[in-house]
Amino acid sequence: MAIAETHDTHGEHHDDHHDHGEFIAHHFESPEQQFDSGKLGIWIFLVTEVLFFSGLFVLYTLYRNYHPEIFQVAHHYLDKNLGCLNTIVLLFSSLTMALAVRSAQTGKNKNCETYLLITMVCATIFLGVKAVEYSHKWDLGIWPRSMFHYHEGVHETGIFGLSNYLIKLSVIPTLLLVGFAGYAAFQYLTDKANNARFYIGMTIMVLGYFAGVVGGVVYQNAIAGDSHAHAALQTAAPLMLHAATIDKSSAGHDDHVHADGEGDSHDDHDHADVPAGSQESVPDSVGIFFSIYYCMTGLHAIHIIGGIVALAWIYRRSQLGHWREDYFGPVDYVGLYWHLVDLIWIYLFPLLYLID
């Protein structure tokens, strides 16, 4: 043990091993012990994450049980295609993450770096698409329960006809983009090519967000042009809700009920607060679905952002060539975390988007 170590090297020197080729913290006996500790630690952390989300899943289960008709109607306001796109993007990012872990295990830092960059870009594409989805809903007045007030199509637009909300959401990514790109250029000009490489990577990572935004907006403009799809999306849901919640004799919209026809089985769920009569308005009680939707996807998005920060850290370390066959723990741990974030989305997508 440490009998020979002089006492003046205490305390501050926990981290200094990183400067050498040796990454063993002073209190571990062997690299194996360090790796096993980290691995167990990250698994326990993932357990806490699962339990953290479990509260929301319980909430979802209960309210879907209380108000199945709200869930069946409300989910029509979520865009399945964008959700599907995001699912594919995240699944792909899990693949590249797994490849990054594999590269680190074999000590191929260069490959690891590339795979991590792709993973981060996928993450930001996901966030970009999510920003388009969120801002579109906010334009339609689709907010959590108390603020929920659905109104069709009338919304102010900012520059390029983009949603004001989307522009606001994009402020921080834009600042980050400018910051990273500028700093990369600065580092490059001051002959710090190694640092510049990292900030170029960060720039590419933020560009992913804008790729996601552009993709989402182009898609939405396309379906806005396609009258059939648009009309189906915009009108089917309110009509169904009326069929489901309002006395059939007074509503009389049964014929227009969407082909899925789930409306009929829920006549017994009567809602006092549904404003009967006005066909265009959607009752505010539908907002409970979106409360849960925003809580779940919002918390998930926060985890994605946290994941990006962690990925950026190991991305930097792979640029510095830290991974070796006997030391790749951090990539492994971040990888596990990333797979969990992906997995949670795999549950969220069908539960929220694919209720039929």
Binding site: G11, G41, F52, R145
Partner: protein, 604 residues
């Protein structure tokens, strides 16, 4: 994994100075290995004598504390922190008790009274009791009991402490910036949504404190799993570690649920998302379910470490192997697991289906089994032991007495019919104070007196320690026993004014509270005085056999300067007295000429 292990076998490319250091360490280890068969007085003195440099004085300056990654210093800082929280919340309690001296008292306005009991509860629960034993004593002792240099994630350990500070500040921020807090520590909806007071500050504080607690728990779980000394199997762990392990399981599994609940409450309060708020179709009882899913297991976060401390104390001060080791160990785990299944007993009167209520009641009763297993095993350990009635032992004995009352009255409340009568009365208040103060606080004080010589290398004045224990014990009983009586007679909890017939009980209770307060102050006074002026003591003054006593007092920065001997933590015959050092040493290191033969055969 296979590849990792193979690669680890190869020589890693180390820098020369480090290689040298390793080699030097190896030589020393080799030497020590040799001397274990015949340790010289010099070696004994070097390993077990009072060291010149220790964890307290090896580095200086506030930065060496603020940025330390040493679990012992973090433990000491935690101890200071939770003690401040204890005194603060204790002062709130004394103000409350002073208010209640008269049945129509107007010492505090009713609003102020509500805020006072809320803060008393919130600060005590979240900032004091939950971190007290695990994060302060546990942090100090756990790695040493394993023969390890530190916990598995020292940086996370420090982060846990800073999160504790931030969380506590937010909790107190509710008074300073949020206009007080008057929901009770449970934040029940719908009132917590409606009230204008600082619920968001307080819930955010509790949320952050939750993360602090998770970090400690995660660290302990990993440390116990991966960093035990070679040869130290699970059943050679001191029982304190089993209880900390069980506690950590609860911290890791239950706290995230509290986290999301409090976040949802904040979202409900700011955006009215309509999940708990009945005005928007939400379900306020759902909040109670979510809250108690954490907070009932949290009750066991509070008591389990206390039980672990008592297991150590009873055994050491009876100088007798703990009776029923594996039963005590598994009862900790059983309590941790059963603790997850009983949250509904807080809501017998809140509107649950009768069947669910019945099931929760039955499971609640079953928690009594592992608790009783522990108590009986402690009593059996005392039987025919050579009992030393010093301060820690007195605290341990009063723990058994008070926890016995606290635990048994829990059964009154777990029974459905009596609970209807006793729900929300002072009976409940008395019950959980017997468990939390009579249990946890007593165990904390006992543990502090037990490990204090190890932590600071100095012995306290045992007479004044025993006086403090007497004051705490008497004061506590005078405070809370009358509350059982008035609770059973129908005095509701949380009332700022009450029927005159209860006044005498309240007055007795208030007198007791001040005696209790003086007792606690005296206990801390004795300890702090000892840390500064106490008589120096050797490495193992109490003849304890667990591994932390094999380090010098106070320990070296690296905990041990030798490879500590892994032995049975309850085999006290493995420690023999050494006259030169005036302390007990492991047989392997003792002077063979003066070592008495083994009394009992070693059985593993």
């Amino acid at each position: 994994m296979v590849r990792l292990k193979r690669a680890c076998g190869q020589t890693a490319n180390k820098l020369p100075d480090e290689t040298q250091q390793r080699q030097r360490q190896n030589t020393v280890a080799f030497k020590l290995k040799k001397v274990t068969t015949m340790a010289t007085a010099e070696t004994r003195n070097k390993i077990f004598g009072t060291p010149e440099t220790n964890y307290l004085n090896c580095t200086k300056g506030w930065k060496s504390w603020a940025f330390t990654l040493d679990h012992k210093r973090i433990g000491v800082m935690y101890l200071v922190g939770v003690t401040i929280a204890l005194f603060l919340a204790g002062a709130f309690a004394l103000i409350l008790r002073s208010h209640l001296v008269k049945f129509d008292s107007n010492m505090l306005s009713y609003d102020r009274y509500n805020q006072m009991f809320t803060l008393h509860g919130a600060v005590m629960v979240f900032a004091f009791i939950i971190p007290s034993i695990p994060a302060a004593l546990g942090n100090f002792v756990l790695p040493m009991m394993l023969g390890a240099k530190d916990v598995a994630f020292p940086r996370m350990n420090l982060a846990s402490f800073y999160l504790w500070i931030v969380g506590t500040m937010c909790l107190l921020g509710a008074i300073l910036f949020g206009g007080g807090l008057d929901t009770g520590w449970t934040f029940y909806t719908p009132y917590s949504i409606e009230t204008e007071t600082g619920v968001i500050w307080a819930t955010f504080g509790a949320f952050v404190l939750g993360f602090s607690s998770i970090f400690t728990g995660l660290n302990f779980l990993v440390t116990v799993n991966t960093m035990r000394s070679p040869g130290q199997t699970w059943f050679k762990l001191p029982l304190f570690l089993w209880s900390l392990y069980a506690t950590s399981i609860i911290q890791v599994l239950a706290t995230p649920v509290l986290g999301i609940t409090l976040l949802l409450l904040i979202a409900e309060k700011t955006m009215h998302i309509g999940v708990f708020d009945p005005r928007y179709g939400g379900d306020p009882v759902l909040f109670q379910h979510f809250f108690w899913f954490y907070s009932h297991p949290a009750v066991y976060i509070m008591i389990l470490p206390g039980m672990g401390v008592i297991s150590e104390l009873i055994s050491v001060y009876s100088q007798k192997r703990i009776f029923g080791y594996s039963f005590i160990a598994f009862s900790s785990v059983a309590i941790a697991l059963l603790g997850f299944l009983v949250w509904g007993h807080h809501m017998f009167t809140s509107g649950q289906s009768p069947l669910v209520t019945l099931i929760f009641s039955a499971i609640t009763f079953s928690v009594a089994i592992p608790s009783a297993v522990k108590v009986f095993n402690w009593l059996a350990t005392l039987f025919k032991g050579s009992i030393l009635l010093n301060t820690p032992m007195l605290y341990a004995l009063s723990f058994i007495f008070l926890f016995g009352i606290g635990g048994l009255t829990g059964l009154f409340l777990g029974a459905l019919s009596t609970d209807i009568h006793l729900h929300d009365t002072y009976f409940v208040v008395a019950h959980f104070h017997f468990v939390m103060v009579g249990g946890t606080l007593t165990a904390l004080l006992g543990g502090l007196f037990h490990w204090w010589p190890k932590m600071f290398g100095r012995m306290y004045n045992d007479f004044w320690g025993r006086v403090s224990c007497a004051l705490v014990f008497i004061g506590f009983n005078v405070t809370f026993f009358p509350q059982f009586v008035m609770g059973a007679r129908g005095m509701p909890r949380r009332y700022a004014s009450y029927d005159p017939e209860f006044q005498i009980f309240h007055q007795i209770s208030t007198v007791g509270a001040f005696v209790l307060g003086i007792g606690i102050l005296l206990a801390y006074g004795v300890l702090v005085y000892a840390a500064r002026y106490g008589k120096r003591c050797g490495s193992n003054p109490f003849r304890a056999a667990s591994m932390e006593w094999q380090s010098s007092s106070p320990p070296d920065f690296h905990n041990f300067i030798h490879k500590p001997t892994v032995n049975d933590p309850y085999d006290f015959d493995s420690q023999v007295y050494d006259e030169e050092l005036d302390t007990y040493l492991p047989r392997e290191y003792a002077d063979p000429a003066k070592t008495p033969p083994r009394k009992e055969p070693v059985h593993h």
